[in-house]
């Protein structure tokens, strides 16, 4: 039986990466290990998301540090781009090409034969639902169609790592849902799908993990609940649906970890802020045994939006 590949060959690894544009900071001291699945890069404009993606794909070189994409350095494009596809934020295309020609020409650069290029081009065009317009010039495409043809180009060679810079920008709701489903499908196949976005509720919906960036620094990374748990200076918010919220409020105030309890506007629930969620959940079990019927318990601020607000500040978010 062959030995399993080293762990670094299944990860995108950035070690102490910094990139400066003259005096201007792009990213600084970024260390990350990105496993397969959907990873979202979140941050305001200028936070370093695109620079990080350009560094991973070798379009810019780090001032210091090293990067490895499944064990391949970005300085080795011959190997890297057989593993990786990148849909950039640049909204420009080689002139005079149809959607199909754009993908086909790109695939020819891989050294594939004509028939193979045709097969792969149509396959990727079908995956992004762009078959009918594929024979028209890209110059006449809508913003959404341009986004999709870029996505088709990124996935055309069946890469194991996909880097997508704001791929949902300009898509209408239906196509947006289809595209998110495609990301999930690709992630389910064991691929890395690294997506940057500033639409937080979408990130929340699609991400297996997030990387929060601000001013060129990574301020948090990991699964969103894990990140939320680590923000100890912000009490966790929990919404409890029950039959007697007022009685529940009087009981939970005895608990030292609870810092705030507020009746929900509809009168059917209680919003709690606690500094120790695990301790609070244990208390809740005890209360439930004492005559209060609890319908549901759900944390309300372990989403990207709240985490982003706590870490970066609402004024910076878009």
């Amino acid at each position: 039986m062959p030995a399993p590949p080293p762990i670094e060959q299944s990860l995108v690894v950035l070690e102490d990466i910094s990139r400066f544009y003259g005096e201007v900071l792009g990213v600084n001291r970024v260390t990350l290990s990105i496993p397969p699945g959907i990873t979202s890069l979140v941050g305001p404009n200028g936070s370093g998301k695109t620079t990080l993606m350009n560094l991973i794909t070798g379009l810019v070189r780090p001032t210091r540090g090293s990067i490895s994409v499944l064990g391949v350095a970005p300085t080795d494009p011959e190997r890297l781009f057989r593993l990786l596809g990148y849909s950039t934020q640049f909204d420009s295309f080689p002139k005079g090409l149809t959607g199909f020609q754009f993908i086909y020409s790109f695939l020819r650069l891989f050294g594939y034969e004509h028939a193979e290029c045709e097969r792969l081009a149509w396959k990727s065009i079908e995956r992004v639902n762009l078959v009918e317009p594929a024979k028209r010039k890209v110059a006449g495409y809508s913003k959404g169609m341009r986004q999709r043809i870029k996505l088709a180009q990124a996935i055309a060679h069946d890469p194991r790592v996909l880097v997508l810079d704001e791929p949902l920008n300009g898509l209408d709701p239906l196509v947006r849902a289809e595209t998110i489903a495609l990301f999930r499908e690709l992630a389910a196949e064991g691929r890395h799908v690294i997506v940057s976005s500033h639409i937080l509720h979408e990130v929340d919906m699609i991400s297996d993990q997030v990387i929060l960036m601000s001013n060129g620094y990574v301020v948090a990374e990991g699964k969103i609940q894990g990140v939320r748990d680590e923000i100890s200076d912000q009490p966790m918010q929990v919404l409890i649906r029950c039959n007697r919220p007022a009685a529940l409020a009087s009981k939970v105030f005895d608990e030292a970890s609870v810092v705030e309890a507020r009746l929900h506007a509809d009168g059917g629930g209680l919003l709690i802020k606690t500094r120790d969620a695990n301790r609070f959940y244990r208390l809740l079990n005890h209360i439930a045994l004492n005559g209060i019927e609890i319908e549901s318990v759900a944390p309300v601020d372990d989403n990207v939006n709240s985490v982003y607000e706590y870490l970066i500040g609402g004024e910076e978010s878009k």
């Binding site: 070798g58 011959e78 781009f81 069946d158």
Partner: protein
């Protein structure tokens, strides 16, 4: 199904180079910003076409005149004004008696000297080769003007002058600026270069592909122009003797020099497009360097394209004696070297420049904001 990736080898590189050329061809041949390259290539063709049309028209007219007023060169050569003041010169009637009626005759009166108004008459003859104009003052022959009709030998010198001083140094030079500088710089301006850099292609292979695409475009455009110019040069003449002599050698030499000029200047401006943002600066610098070639030490002369090209030109075209010094500087000739050395030197220079360019291409980053 995961496609099988071709391993990186010469076959893959060949396929990748072919793919780059296919993509670049359309841009290099049909780019709107490259339209002026065609005008540069077309200008000398139009020049020689105009001359050919003029020569053919005047030749036809001369033959008609000669048929209507036949006279031999021998007879016309013997008609001379008197060299001795005491001897009376030939009169109009004497000339008509010897040479017959002229095909053109003009008469007018001039001045008011001691002898009153002076009658000036000019009579034109042709022997099909040359034009003779006899001038009479008050009926006496005082002057003979023999104007040689243009011939192929003279015109090959004119062609050599235009080829070396305009075509090589300006038309092909700036044509290569337009096409090769755009191969990388144009795509940075259009923000489309990253598509190449996102493919599994070595930067060196990309550079070679782009260079070959530019070379194919410039060679086709400029050698076609050279061929058309040569055709226009030969069109008014019976060129069979020329072609049986050095003619074909000259034609192939000019076509070869044109292609080599594209090869050399192409590499220079491809590298410049990778190194410098503004095309005017490298173009002006290289033009100055190439023009100052005459004054450079022998070792430095060899680091220029024109040095090798001039050595390969089949006809030497010396600058005019009374030429403006600034223009003379621009068109100064370099000391010739042997053709084999010239070709080897030019190819070696091109390779060195391409190696430098590929080193720069390896470090190329996409940063459209500052490009």
């Amino acid at each position: 199904m995961t496609p099988k990736f071709p391993s990186a080898n010469f076959r893959t590189w060949r396929l990748q180079i072919a793919a780059v050329i296919r993509l670049e061809m359309k841009k290099t041949f049909f780019a709107k910003r490259g339209l002026w390259v065609y005008l540069l290539a077309l200008a000398p063709v139009l020049l020689f076409m105009g001359r050919a049309i003029d020569l053919m028209r005047t030749s036809e007219t001369r033959q008609e005149m000669a048929s209507a007023h036949p006279v031999s060169s021998e007879v016309l050569g013997k008609i001379r004004p008197s060299m001795n003041e005491d001897e009376p010169g030939m009169t109009i009637d004497d000339v008509i008696k010897k040479a017959g009626e002229p095909y053109a005759r003009r008469a007018f009166y001039a001045g008011r000297g001691r002898r009153g108004r002076t009658q000036i008459v000019s009579m034109s003859y042709t022997d099909q080769q040359d034009d003779y104009t006899f001038t009479f003052v008050d009926g006496e022959l005082v002057g003979v003007n023999r104007r040689e009709h243009p011939n192929l030998q003279q015109d090959t010198l004119i062609f050599a002058t235009v080829f070396q001083f305009f075509y090589l140094r300006l038309a092909i030079f700036f044509g290569c600026v337009g096409i090769f500088m755009n191969l990388f710089r144009g795509e940075m301006i259009d923000k489309s270069l990253h598509f190449y850099l996102l493919a599994p292609i070595r930067r060196e292979v990309l550079l070679v592909g782009k260079y070959l695409a530019g070379l194919a475009a410039t060679v086709v455009i400029f050698t076609t122009s050279t061929a058309l110019q040569l055709w226009m040069l030969l069109l008014p003449y019976d060129a069979s003797a020329y072609l049986h002599g050095a003619g074909w050698h000259h034609i192939f030499a000019y076509l070869g020099v044109t292609a080599l000029a594209c090869l050399g200047y192409g590499s220079v401006f491809l590298a410049a497009g990778l190194l410098v943002r503004n095309p005017i600066i490298p173009a002006a610098t290289v033009l100055l360097w190439e023009s100052a070639n005459l004054f450079l030490p022998a070792a430095l002369k060899k680091i220029s394209v024109i040095f090798y090209l001039q050595s390969l030109c089949p006809v030497v075209a010396p600058p005019e004696k009374d030429m403006n010094p600034l223009l003379a500087l621009l068109i100064s000739s370099a000391e010739a070297t042997r053709p084999a050395w010239a070709i080897t030197g030019l190819v070696a220079l091109t390779l060195v420049i391409l190696v430098v360019a590929s080193m720069r291409a390896r470090k190329l980053e996409i940063n459209y904001g500052t490009d």
